[in-house]
Symmetry: C2
Subunit: 588 residues, 2 copies
């Protein structure tokens, strides 16, 4: 697509118009009988002068039409794919069209020319539906246009965003007090008397300690994260699991997503496979597409609360092998997203054994570890603990990366972008490579790192903030559990809907039995049937959910992911119920 | 590398020891005459029992030696590469070694097995030297070991990290006051009377406005960034350039690095080329290596203050073409890093014209736009302004992505991770793809986004914070300019050193004429000569710099990048001078 190369080589003035060798291609296309050849172009001609990238040299004051045409015609004899008879049939209109095309510099970037891996990336959580929801939200701000809508607010039930406007999860006071002091240390350095009246003593003490370790939260930190905070993460893991943790194998990250992307990009060569649960959080498929790696699905069993079965895993591995894909990693989300399932120790041991047997790196996404609804019957167990509790040859060899985050749990600090991953049984020279890659992104956001400190080391009994911290976090936890329970119960009473109760996390993933007529209608609209359902739900109620097809599901089944974060039950579940009944009745 | 597949299929208990088909490979290697075959392995045997991944089935209580050997021997007849005569020569020691190897599960991840693109990534700014600096810093914390060092502190002059401990750049008070209120809105909601005594009125007003727009800084925002802040960025750009800006073409980012990586990964297909200046900030080469794209160097001219010459650019393009590389993008850093050069309008127009002529996307890294030392003679001009001021066919077609950041300038808020990029002349369907990719990373850190608001809309004359803001930012700016000037003057007085004065940014990139004997010594040590210089500088003074080879330089020339951020002139420049004179004398 070189243009005016000779001019550029001569260093000539850029103001001179020039003809692009690329115009040869354009001319070929024009002469090839495609629609561009038709005389109708001439009719649209006058309207095109002011459109970007459609300046035409034929109209340029600096180069008269005849000269431009001459240049074009000069190219014609050299064209290889246009034979002389085609040449003979060129009309004046066609030549004019060619003259116009010749000067239309095509953009370098188009869907054809960008990295094709980008086109392969799909991310339903914030796709078409989310865009439509944003448009509705804007419409609601306009008093006149708002009246056209059958709802007065948009409920974004598509993302686990606990602190978003309109929801009732408030930030943990202890967190925000500590961070506000780190943001402006003058508050405790110069105004301690004033601040002491507002903030509890443990808040001020924590801020002073962190300030001593970190200094300004506006400075870059160690690329792995602040050493003192990594030590505290190690202590947290040791206490949780009863096995040692090494701060040098802990990396703080800008949320779990950043860590997952980084690790997938390092572990997998292009073409290698990563097992992912179906349904799954679409970060995995999106990242794999981007790095040219292959998702290898394994199906969770809906009938048994979305459990992970050894059979499903082995089927996945064997299918990949049959397809010639080397399975290098296995991603598992526990508690599950979107399913809410919590794995039993037995299931986890089988997963670990499979990784040992097959030589697979285990990636454990454990960001919902604090969102456990029935800790007695279905406690959270970390994969680190399971790996380390297995016989020595397994315990000391299965390579594991465990992810955690401040975005979920009872903190819900998504916007801060904080989290960590821990490396288990990873060779030291590979750890160094991970460190190098972390260095390129400089460091995670510092107050996100501080969030990790507050996550792993909350106020203790006796601390001035303890009672408030306990009350706030218990409320958030119980609200989530109760809403989740109530929602699955009510969903299960609806016609054509069944819903596995969640053991944890913050979503429900009910199955919808979509009537045949609706499936046919969806086909006509060019949508997946569950996408049609979610679009209709949004149009009718302002509730933005995500269709199951965005997460993957068994062929012929349809689901919906909704968060169990909601403003009020009737405003949310009641609206879904009403819509669902009407929609099913309409298409039955 | 399938292990125990049959066991796994049967769902058998994972506690049973098993033999890996992989052992065949190990056995082949052992029989192939490599050192593993030697009897010395047997001597090391007893010491290996507790080593990770070296559990041996021969010693397993669950499977006696003879059975293990039998399994191994069962495999032997099926081995394809070991002929029967080799088989005949197996000694008992060799078989024992094989038995041990069979149970040594090799880690899945090694330097050979990870994504090779990761190995190609180099990032000198935080490499070997930086690691050594960290080690020295730890040593200084130990009162006894600290005495072994010839310095009492480490000066990290390797990264532009204005707010790091030990430097004298304080955060802008206005920024930190506003953000502390957003972190804890209770301060203005419940304690306005108290806070009003500490914080100026405009701080409280700004926090309230932002809180109204954003809500909690702990919630995810729009993936492009908070709409109200993008509108303010557009207004800032319009005012700066005198050309319209569209908020929908502005994306807030987690610093400029995150934006650059995202854009490079979208623009370039694997194998395509991106022109990068030499010397360059190594983010570019690192990212290109990771995405399998090719760096196409163009050399800046040291003699003319590191200017960008059309000749250098065209040489780069032609070289790439000769090598069969399609040049798709051109990265340019203005003001320059590490050079400090500021481009003239004439140079910029030539760059834009080249992009037009050759069909190249222009990536303008303008993060140092506020660090301009002589605004009259060498003002900052944005590429957006230059593109839009060119004749219509160029102005409306050259595709440009411009990057800015809160990390540099006079704010220096690197740890917050905030910035933005603006898209100019990018096709709408490509903008949508960029938006999709931004969605996968969810959203930039929210207080990083707030930082962008404060960057583009600082206090105005008449605002309560204005005088303090002006005094603080002027001090930071003038300090940087004065130190930069003084440093280049003093460097130029040293033997074997010459230094182009910087027009902007926050670095100096002096050239060192390294004596032949030192070059020979470096060869012996297996280091680049300038890397040896920087290591020796660190060992002698505690000053951590970066060798020019980390940025790229003309063959046979050697440089050093140091920041013009420093605690005190004598403690820093004085030490470099003393070291340099001695070092040159030693090797002359």
């Amino acid at each position: 697509m070189a243009r005016c190369k000779s001019d550029a080589r001569r260093g000539g003035p850029w103001r001179g118009a020039c003809v692009n060798p690329f115009s040869r291609l354009v001319a070929q296309r024009s002469a090839s009988g495609r629609p561009e050849d038709s005389g109708t172009h001439i009719e649209r001609w006058p309207g095109r002068t002011d459109i970007n990238r459609s300046e035409n040299i034929a109209r340029s004051p600096r180069r008269p039409l005849s000269a431009s045409l001459q240049v074009l015609l000069d190219y014609l004899p050299t064209r290889k794919t246009v034979n002389s008879s085609a040449h003979a049939y060129l009309t004046l209109n066609q030549v004019r069209t060619m003259a116009a095309s010749a000067s239309t510099r095509k953009p370098v970037l188009s869907l054809e020319s960008i990295n094709p891996a980008v086109l392969d990336v799909h991310y339903a959580v914030r796709g078409e539906l989310a865009l439509k929801a944003v448009a509705y939200e804007e419409q609601l701000h306009d008093p006149v246009k708002a009246k056209e809508l059958p709802f007065d607010k948009v409920v974004t039930a598509n993302i686990g965003n606990p602190q978003q406007k309109g929801l009732n999860q408030r930030p943990i006071t202890f967190w925000r007090q500590v961070i506000s002091l780190l943001e402006n240390p003058a508050l405790f350095q110069d105004h301690l008397d004033v601040i002491s009246k507002i903030y509890p003593a443990d808040v001020i003490a924590r801020a002073k300690t962190l300030y001593g370790e970190i200094g300004s939260v506006g400075a870059y930190t160690h690329s792995k994260g602040i050493p003192a905070i990594r030590k505290k993460v190690a202590a947290f893991i040791e206490k949780r699991d009863g096995h040692p943790a090494n701060p040098e194998h802990i990396f703080l990250t800008a949320g779990a997503s950043a860590g997952v992307s980084q690790i997938l990009g390092l572990v997998l060569k292009p073409g290698e496979g990563c097992m992912i649960p179906i349904p799954q959080y679409p970060l995995y498929t999106a990242t794999l597409a981007y790095i040219h790696a292959k998702p290898v699905p394994y199906y969770l069993d809906e009938a048994t609360g979305w459990s992970t079965s050894t059979e499903g895993l082995i089927q996945g591995v064997n299918k990949a092998k049959a397809d010639g894909i080397k399975v290098k990693a296995l991603a598992i989300i526990n508690p599950g997203n979107p399913t809410g399932g919590v794995l039993s120790r037995e299931s986890m041991e089988k997963v670990v054994q499979l990784c040992y047997d097959e030589g697979i790196v285990l990636l454990a996404d454990e960001v919902y570890q604090r969102n456990i609804f029935d800790p007695k019957d279905r406690p959270f167990i970390s994969f680190k603990e399971v790996v380390r509790s297995m016989p020595k040859e397994v315990a000391n060899s299965v390579e594991l990366v465990s992810f955690h985050s401040i975005s979920k749990g009872v903190s819900g600090e998504c916007g801060r972008r904080g989290g960590y991953f821990e490396l288990t049984n990873i060779a030291e020279d590979v750890v160094e490579q991970i460190y190098k890659m972390a260095s390129v992104t400089l460091c995670p956001p510092v107050t996100g790192q501080v969030g990790v400190d507050l996550l792993v080391d909350p106020p203790k009994p006796g601390d001035a903030s303890y009672d408030q911290w306990l009350a706030e976090t218990t409320l958030t936890h119980d609200n989530l559990r109760d809403r989740s329970k109530l929602m699955s119960e009510r969903f299960n009473q609806l016609p054509n809907m069944s819903c596995q109760p969640a053991d944890g996390a913050m979503y429900l993933f009910p199955q919808i039995k979509i009537p045949e007529r609706a499936i046919e209608e969806a086909k006509k609209r060019g949508k997946a049937p569950d996408v049609m359902y979610t679009l209709d739900l949004l149009d009718a109620t302002g509730i933005c959910s995500v269709a199951g097809s965005g997460f993957g599901q068994e062929a012929g089944t349809y689901h919906l992911r909704v968060t169990a974060l909601c403003p009020g039950v009737e405003d949310y579940v009641g609206k879904i119920e009403k819509f669902h009944k009407e929609w099913i009745a309409k298409w039955a």
